[in-house]
């Protein structure tokens, strides 16, 4: 299978007041063509930073310390700024969390779609218009000709997210990065956008990196799941493996935290404790202050657990699973 994205041993850090704090530690995973990989975890675990690393859009105080990011076989970390810019849009497109602010409010939808198509496909204005209409139809927008003339404020959130998806897809990227694209939408629209992405993936033959903290969304869309905790990958497996047989105590905690209406005992069981600050130093496993099993295992406080393959394709980093 062809890999559209391959991240290897990625380390990234933010410098705050001239001190570097590691936000991503040894992250590795890959995405094949026609596959959706979900990255899940709490706010601040490094999900969005991962996407920004791939897009090379880290804020000024952030940097990739080591590791490589291959998109379509090219290592982005070795490219110049100008070369990376050619990759953005063309090879990898990104859908943002907040559709309300991700469009320029002063320009029509049509202008913004066309400018992107002309830029990436070298189409004439007329061709670009036709392509724009085609893609708006693809994302399920009724009377696209009219929509092209409208400004972002005239569209609802769901419509704007569709426009953004159309904009990203119209450049025909091989990798689609979606950073919580449904978080700002209400549930019915969320469902529509998810099935839209599923259909489009098959259509475009692209790989999707989907960032979310919503396990319901994961179950719906993902082929494989990567669980991040405090900048580290703690578990990786197919969606089936992760949901049927979660191995890491953190993943189990996440599953339990989802309320299940079908059970008699309708109760949310949160993971105790709070997420560590990046400035905090924790020896051993980063999850140990919150882990229910750590107290009986001294190793958890001494060394960081290595990634092991518990079953084919299912990896976990936990001392207790050895």
């Amino acid at each position: 299978m062809e890999k559209v994205l391959d991240i290897q041993n990625l380390h990234a850090a933010f410098s705050i007041q001239k001190k570097d704090y590691e936000v991503l530690h040894d992250i590795s995973f890959s995405i094949n063509r026609n596959e959706t990989v979900c990255v899940v975890g709490e706010s601040g675990c490094g999900k969005s930073v991962t996407t920004l690393c791939i897009m090379q859009l880290l804020p000024k105080n952030g940097k990739i310390q080591s590791g490589s990011i291959y998109v379509d076989g090219t290592d982005l970390t070795k490219l110049s700024k100008k070369e990376v810019r050619k990759f953005r849009g063309k090879k990898m497109g990104m859908i943002f969390q907040e559709p309300m602010t991700a469009l320029n409010p002063l320009l029509t939808i049509g202008f913004q779609l066309r400018e992107n198509i002309i830029n990436h496909r070298g189409a004439s204005k007329k061709e670009a218009n036709a392509i724009a209409i085609e893609y708006l139809k693809k994302v399920g927008i009724a009377n696209p000709e009219q929509r092209l003339k409208q400004y972002p404020f005239q569209l609802s959130g769901g419509l704007r997210q569709r426009v953004l998806i159309a904009m990203v897809l119209s450049a025909q990227p091989d990798l689609l990065i979606a950073d919580e694209p449904t978080t700002a939408l209400d549930v019915t629209i969320q469902k529509q956008v998810l099935s839209l992405l599923n259909d489009l993936k098959k259509d475009m033959n692209a790989g999707i990196l989907f960032i979310t903290h919503d396990l319901g969304v994961v179950a719906e869309i993902a082929d494989r799941v990567v669980v991040l905790y405090a900048g580290r990958k703690v578990e990786e497996g197919t969606t089936h493996q992760i949901f049927k047989n979660p191995l890491h105590p953190y993943t189990i905690g996440l599953m339990n935290a989802v309320p299940n209406v079908d059970l008699d005992e309708f109760e949310i069981r949160p993971i105790p404790g709070t997420f560590p600050n990046i400035t905090e130093k924790i020896d051993g496993c980063r999850f140990n202050p919150r882990c229910p099993h750590a107290s009986s295992c001294p190793k958890c406080f001494e060394t960081a657990p290595e990634m092991i393959e518990a079953e084919p394709g299912h990896f976990v980093a936990c001392h207790l699973k050895k």
Binding site: R88, G89, K90, G93, T101, L103, N104
Partner: protein, 290 residues
């Protein structure tokens, strides 16, 4: 085409405001009078006639000194005040317009570069700070003194004077726009910095530019009047409002209207542009909108 639409919307909103409408109409009337000055007066603004010195205007219609035709009277050299006001307005308005335009072009350029590129920020803004340390008119005086007294140099002086405040305001706006998510989104689609700056940042800064340009127009007109009053703007005998006030000083007690009339012209123009700018800001400035 699309941008015109939006400006039209803003313009229609502007006309809903009575005060702004009055100011707008006054400015239009003034522009017509000044541009087509020969149609509204038959006298040459520089033609002197010492036999007709200091003749009063329409307010002394019963006086035997009143000359029909010179409805605003004549000055100490027998020149028609009405034609001098009209032709003087040509200088005031065109200097105001040209120096504001030059100020906008360079101020926007510097402001955008400083706001967008962090590396250039310090260099550009420190240079602007140096220009800021001169009290406004002093900087213009300095430039005119160095380059020589004429209209072109006065225009250059006023333009340079307005660059730093433009640059500072545009920079602030660009800093704000730069952080918007749509800029990141556009960048993630592979847009170049140049494209982002010209297509997205500039366009979003446009309302701010329009507002400060209108306000600046008022102060530029005031500046050229000030410079001419000080004898450093437009040399005599070319009519100019500030210059008219300056030469009328000597006969102020016999003929106060020679000071008052050009004074009214300056004040009216400046107030109109200021009010227009103020109302435009209410409409266009996103930070004041809901």
């Amino acid at each position: 085409m699309k941008r015109e639409n939006q400006l039209l919307v803003a313009f229609r909103k502007l006309l809903k405001n009575k005060l702004a409408t009055i100011c707008f109409i006054l400015i239009i009337i003034e522009l017509i009078l000044v541009i087509f000055a020969p149609l509204f007066t038959q006298y040459d603004p520089t033609a002197m006639d010492t036999t007709l010195r200091l003749r009063p205007g329409f307010w002394a219609m019963d006086s035997e000194l009143y000359l029909p035709g010179h409805w605003l009277g004549t000055d100490e050299l027998g020149r028609d005040v009405w034609s001098r006001i009209l032709y003087g307005g040509r200088i005031s308005l065109s200097v105001g317009f040209i120096s504001t335009t030059l100020g906008i072009i360079f101020g926007t350029l510097f402001g955008m570069l400083a706001g967008y590129y962090k590396k250039l920020d310090n260099i550009i803004m420190r240079i602007m700070d140096i220009l800021f340390t001169f009290p406004g008119i002093l900087l213009a005086l300095l430039i005119v003194a160095m380059l020589g007294v004429n209209v072109v140099n006065a225009t250059i002086a006023i333009s340079i004077w307005s660059i730093p405040s433009f640059a500072r305001m545009i920079r602030g706006r660009v800093l704000q726009i730069k952080e918007e998510e749509y800029i990141t989104a556009i960048r993630s689609l592979g847009a170049s910095d140049f494209w982002i700056l010209t297509r997205h940042v500039l366009r979003n800064a446009l309302p701010t530019i329009i507002v400060i340009a209108t306000m600046r127009m008022a102060s530029s007109i005031l500046s050229i009047a000030t410079l001419s009053y000080l004898g450093l703007g437009v040399p005599q005998p070319t009519p100019e409002w500030g210059g008219m006030i300056s030469t009328a000083k000597t006969v102020m007690y016999q003929a106060s209207y020679l000071v008052v009339i050009p004074g009214i012209a300056v004040v009216l123009t400046v107030i109109c542009f200021n009010i227009l700018g103020d109302k435009l800001r209410d409409i266009l400035d996103p930070s004041l909108r809901d």
